[in-house]
């Protein structure tokens, strides 16, 4: 394999790549141990202060999840895939669950759909705040970093009340979810959304409308509509370039067809638009959370799992749910022992959802065994990384953090 890599008379060692540089340029290695970027390296060829060639060198946290998934039972893959992006855990695993549900031929009941939507939006806000915080570090704005991470705590706390874990929720399972929301959750969620709306205005004041930051972001890394389409960019980055694509809009899943919200689309396509797109998305997510909470409050606490299961469940399961057993948590949905040795009918399924950073795609193939035959995972960061190669050349070296940060790139998600 190695012999294919380089050609010509350049000396070559295994594991080492040698490229000749043109005159008057030199190479700078940004990463892999880098404050903020996580574990990746960008090899930049610089002519003076202008980047001429950018080569994202990734894979520092690669874990071969696609291979590991082929050796694990169907349900055990959910906690595995969650580890791609623990800050966006529900969104990351949801398409896998959906794909397997398509193979199994089950549909989650309404309450489960709303619960999933609720957690997805909480995760989306947490994920955007995380991205904005890192963006702040890149631009030397430590206040945004601390604010974003501090306010993210509010939503992590909400998720913890809902699922029992701060980050690795493992919340959706085939045919339903694992818990219902606690009694005081709607009130807390409403307080949190109100708080966050006010905070977003302050974020705009101290960061996005700050002339210092604006001049760093405006007209930097402009990605036209056509270029974004060509490169297959996803998520808020795509919508910041004026493409009207969002899985929640084009193929509504879970409860997204029933709640009312807007998809913010920006025309400019520069780093500032990408940052604003995230802020606007947080605003819409807050709307969705409020609507989902209202719906959940109005409707009775039943049908959180597939109907068949709920009817045949033994009495203990209902006791646990209603909190009759005092040492166990309330509103927990017991799993069937069947899940441990689930066999999925043969077939191929493809599912997509709009995760925090963009479209998350799973291709699942089953041959009727208790493990998947093939799981293909394409995460949003994976499809965004190509933009660095095509977008950065021509910009100054100091624009690298501004572009990199605006894409909200998350190495563990891409490396899988």
């Amino acid at each position: 394999m190695a012999s294919n890599i380089s050609s010509g008379s350049v000396p070559h060692l295994p594991g080492m790549e040698v490229t000749e540089l043109s005159k008057n340029t030199y190479e700078v290695y940004i990463g892999p141990a880098h404050p903020g970027s996580g574990h990746m390296r960008i090899i930049v060829e610089v002519d003076g202060d202008v980047m001429v060639r950018v080569d994202p060198d990734i894979g520092f946290v690669h874990r071969t999840m696609e291979k590991l998934a082929e050796g694990r039972d169907w349900i055990k893959n959910i906690p595995l895939f969650e580890r791609m992006a623990i800050l966006d855990a529900c969104n990351i695993t949801l398409p896998y669950v959906e794909a397997v549900e398509r193979l199994l031929g089950t549909e989650p009941p309404d309450r489960a759909r709303y619960l999933r939507t609720l957690l997805c939006e909480i995760n989306r806000i947490a994920s955007h705040l995380y991205g904005m915080g890192i963006f702040g570090v890149f631009l030397g704005h430590s206040t945004l970093y601390m604010w974003a991470f501090g306010d993210r705590e509010v939503f992590i706390d909400l998720a913890e009340q809902m699922t029992g874990a701060r980050l690795t929720h493992s919340y959706p399972v085939f045919g339903g979810v694992r818990r219902d929301i606690p009694d005081d959750f709607p009130e807390n969620a409403r307080k949190a959304t109100k708080y966050m709306r006010n905070r977003l205005n302050e974020y705009a004041k101290i960061f996005l409308n700050n002339p210092n930051i604006r001049s760093r972001l405006e007209n930097v890394g402009i990605m036209s509509k056509n270029l974004a389409t060509e490169l297959g960019i996803v998520g808020p980055n795509l919508r910041a370039s004026g493409v009207r694509y969002d899985v929640r809009l084009n193929e509504p899943y879970e409860a997204y067809g029933d709640v009312e919200f807007e998809i913010p689309v920006f025309e400019e396509g520069d780093s500032l638009a990408r940052a604003w797109a995230r802020v606007e998305e947080i605003r819409q997510s807050l709307n969705i959370i409020e609507q989902a909470v209202d719906w959940l409050e109005k409707h009775p606490r039943e049908n959180f799992m597939h109907e068949k299961f709920w009817k045949t469940a033994p009495k203990l399961y209902k006791d646990v749910f209603s909190g009759q057993i005092d040492y166990a948590g309330k509103y927990r949905v017991k799993l069937m022992p069947l899940f441990a040795s689930l066999k999925v009918p043969p077939g191929k399924a493809f599912a997509r959802v709009e995760a925090g950073r963009g479209e998350m795609v799973y291709y699942v193939e089953s041959d009727g065994e208790d493990v998947p035959y093939r799981v293909r995972v394409v995460s949003p960061s994976f499809r965004n990384v190509i933009a660095f190669k095509y977008l950065m050349p021509g910009h100054r070296l100091m624009d690298l953090p501004a572009i990199y940060g605006s894409f909200d790139y998350f190495p563990p998600e891409w490396d899988r």
Partner: protein, 175 residues
């Protein structure tokens, strides 16, 4: 969902119109439409599909059918700019021989396939002809030489045995 079914049939028809005799088989899988084309007509079909409006690649998936000695490569494509087409995902697939795996690269037609093809190349050892920059992406050369996602590369995992031997457990306290 009745309307949806009808639309699916119509998109299948229009795919047949676009690709004409390139299609070996067309099948409604769960969540996408699987279109199988012969390897030598892959580039031609891709060009036609791009003209039709499918402007980006979502995923390049290779599946190793070791029993049949085949690889199946699927380009899951869809559209951003065409709102009607964006509701569908087309799996443009082709089957290649497992012994000498190579197929024409589509990354000149869809730039979004470039990194994904590099990934398939390193994990399966499938060579994409005419790829602009076919290098390793995630793995080191030593690991990539093992072609880790092929089915004949078996991951050594710890035992699946759910029971632990009492004597051994007391002696070593480890598993």
């Amino acid at each position: 969902m009745v309307g949806g079914e009808k639309k699916l049939i119509s998109i299948q028809d229009s795919l047949k119109n676009v690709l004409k005799d390139n299609i070996i088989s067309i099948e409604q899988a769960k969540g996408y439409i699987d279109v199988l084309v012969p390897t030598d007509k892959l580039v031609d079909s891709a060009k036609k599909l791009k003209e039709f409006g499918f402007d980006h690649v979502k995923s390049v998936t290779a599946v190793d059918y070791i029993a049949k000695k085949q690889f199946k490569i699927t380009y899951h494509i869809s559209s951003y700019l065409n709102e009607e087409l964006s509701k569908y995902i087309i799996g443009l697939s082709t089957i290649i021989n497992r012994d000498d795996p190579h197929l024409p690269s589509l990354s000149k037609i869809w730039v979004s396939a470039e990194f994904q093809e590099r990934e398939v190349y390193e994990f399966f050892g499938i060579i994409f002809d005419d790829h602009p920059d076919l290098r390793l992406l995630l793995l080191t050369p030593v690991v990539a030489a093992l072609k880790p996602l092929r089915k004949d590369f078996v991951v050594k995992e710890e035992s699946d045995n759910i029971e632990v031997d009492y004597a051994a457990y007391n002696a070593t306290k480890w598993w």
